[in-house]
């Protein structure tokens, strides 16, 4: 989760580790769904967007077919509207009707699960997917809702006040 840049961030995954994790997750997605047909990769604004594009690229290479990428902003579905400001410039864009598709929700860090809950509710507005799966680079624990990821780059035990940053250059904790 992003807040202040910490004084001395510790690297947990290198850029190569992140790249390998994304390759592995793409293969796991293809295995679980028996291919890449009828898949839609939906990145959560904003941390999940670049990851969704990476995963879709990997899946396209595996399945030899384009995998559509959607972007989802959950600001209006959050349970803390009125507490958190919404960030402009991250408009939702779902390019296909989700009816009958398998949706892979993608985010950088899974923490309390509240963002994912909001995302599940927001997805309802775009159709009725056959299934919704969750892929994250880091699962840092501290869930407040009964939500678990289907694909994980790394399980990372953290304390609540630590800050986890995920970019294509790697994962740091501080």
């Amino acid at each position: 989760m992003s807040s202040q840049t910490p004084a001395r961030p510790r690297e947990v995954l290198s850029a190569d580790d992140v790249r390998r994790a994304l390759t592995r997750i793409a293969h796991e997605i293809a295995e679980r769904n028996h291919g890449t047909e009828a898949l839609v990769v939906v990145g959560l604004q904003r941390g999940g967007v670049w990851i969704a594009h990476e995963l879709a690229g990997n899946l396209a290479a595996i399945g030899n077919a384009e995998v559509p990428v959607g972007l989802l902003d959950v600001s209006f579905h959050r349970d803390d509207v009125g507490i958190r400001p919404i960030v402009p410039g991250s408009v939702t864009d779902i390019p296909v009707n989700l009816d009958g598709h398998a949706v892979v929700l993608v985010d950088d860090v899974l923490f309390t699960g509240r963002t994912v809950r909001a995302a599940l509710e927001a997805l309802n507005d775009y159709g009725r997917p056959r299934s919704v799966q969750l892929a994250v680079i880091v699962d840092r624990g501290h869930r407040e809702l009964p939500i678990r990821p289907d694909y994980v780059g790394k399980n990372l035990p953290t304390s609540r006040d630590e800050d986890v940053q995920v970019t294509a250059d790697g994962v740091t904790i501080a």
Partner: protein, 312 residues
């Protein structure tokens, strides 16, 4: 930002931020199910002391798309006197539990006055000749999208034509358009211009034909029939000849010129062509953008959890 009373209360950054939030709302309105739970549990009261079905419906739709509850009060202006009774009305409804009042009133300053009597947010939906800020915001949004001007209106040439003197739309639009950098020309007969234009950063013309070929936006105001009774206009027909968008004038417009009108329009008077025949007609876009802009305003006042001027 606690209330939205006047465009003059907003900085350029405030206007731009509301435009960006409107992008989100426009996307919501495109969804198969155009409704989000953002303002669940909030109550928006539409309090219209002057009749305006379209503005009231637009606010009502905006609130419902954000899952707010709405109450609609249409109060005939004749039955309400200013002062204590307006105050009683507000305090009574506020006691039922209101998070926002959307107020239309024939007296300039009514919305501002109401802020003294309630802790709820107040949105001015038109007060006398003074202001109609959400109309100006929806007009800005329509131009921003219609001409692809996300970063502002620098260099845009906009003519506002018609009854400037009695128009809160014109006052609000002039402030918003010029704040964003547009060059605004007011086109009207001298009887329909305010007695003084000191402090208005605009040009004035009495001749529509001399400006029409060189415009990015042609904004037509509604002409009200009572202006004829007040002898400010000789006849509707003469007005149309001098200031209406006739087929001849429509042919003189640049192909990219947007034609706008706040509605409801008088066909055959200020709009003397069928707007369906105008490629640049934005009139129905203005209506749908109005819902999105009002969603953005309500969300900002009730739901965003941050001051409009604050950091995102």
């Amino acid at each position: 930002m606690k209330h939205l009373l006047s465009i003059g209360d907003l900085s350029v950054a405030d206007i731009q931020r509301l435009m960006e939030l409107t992008d989100h709302m426009a996307e919501v309105n495109q969804r198969p199910i155009p409704k989000v739970p953002a303002l669940r549990g909030k109550t928006v009261v539409n309090l219209f002391f002057e009749d305006s079905t379209r503005t009231r419906t637009s606010f009502d739709t905006a609130a419902k798309r954000l899952s707010a509850d709405t109450m609609n009060f249409a109060v005939a202006s004749s039955s309400v006197n200013k002062g204590e009774s307006l105050r009683d009305t507000i305090e009574t409804i506020a006691a039922m539990g209101a998070d926002a009042f959307v107020v239309r009133h024939k007296s300039s300053g009514a919305a501002l006055q109401i802020t003294n009597w309630t802790s709820a947010a107040v949105v001015n939906a038109g007060d006398g000749w003074h202001q109609h800020p959400t109309q100006a915001l929806l007009d800005c949004y329509t131009i921003r999208v219609g001409l692809g001007r996300r970063d502002g209106f620098d260099g845009l040439r906009i003519a506002i034509v018609g009854d400037i003197k009695h128009s809160r739309v014109a006052r609000s639009d002039v402030q918003a358009f010029t704040a964003l950098g547009a060059q605004v020309t007011l086109v009207a007969p001298p009887t329909l211009l305010p007695p003084s234009l000191d402090g208005w950063p605009v040009d004035v013309s009495h001749d529509l034909d001399s400006v029409i070929g060189d415009l990015d936006v042609l904004y037509l105001l509604r002409v009200q029939r009572e202006r004829m009774d007040e002898a400010l206009l000789p006849s509707m027909r003469e007005y149309s000849t001098m200031y209406g968008l006739t087929p001849r004038r429509a042919a003189a417009l640049s192909p990219h010129t947007l034609v706008m009108h706040p509605g409801p329009m008088n066909r055959g008077v200020e709009m003397a062509v069928d707007p369906a025949d105008l490629p640049g007609s934005m009139i129905l876009h203005q209506v749908s953008n109005g819902v999105a802009v009002r969603m953005a305003v309500l969300f900002h006042l009730l739901g965003s959890g941050s001051d409009l001027r604050g950091e995102a």
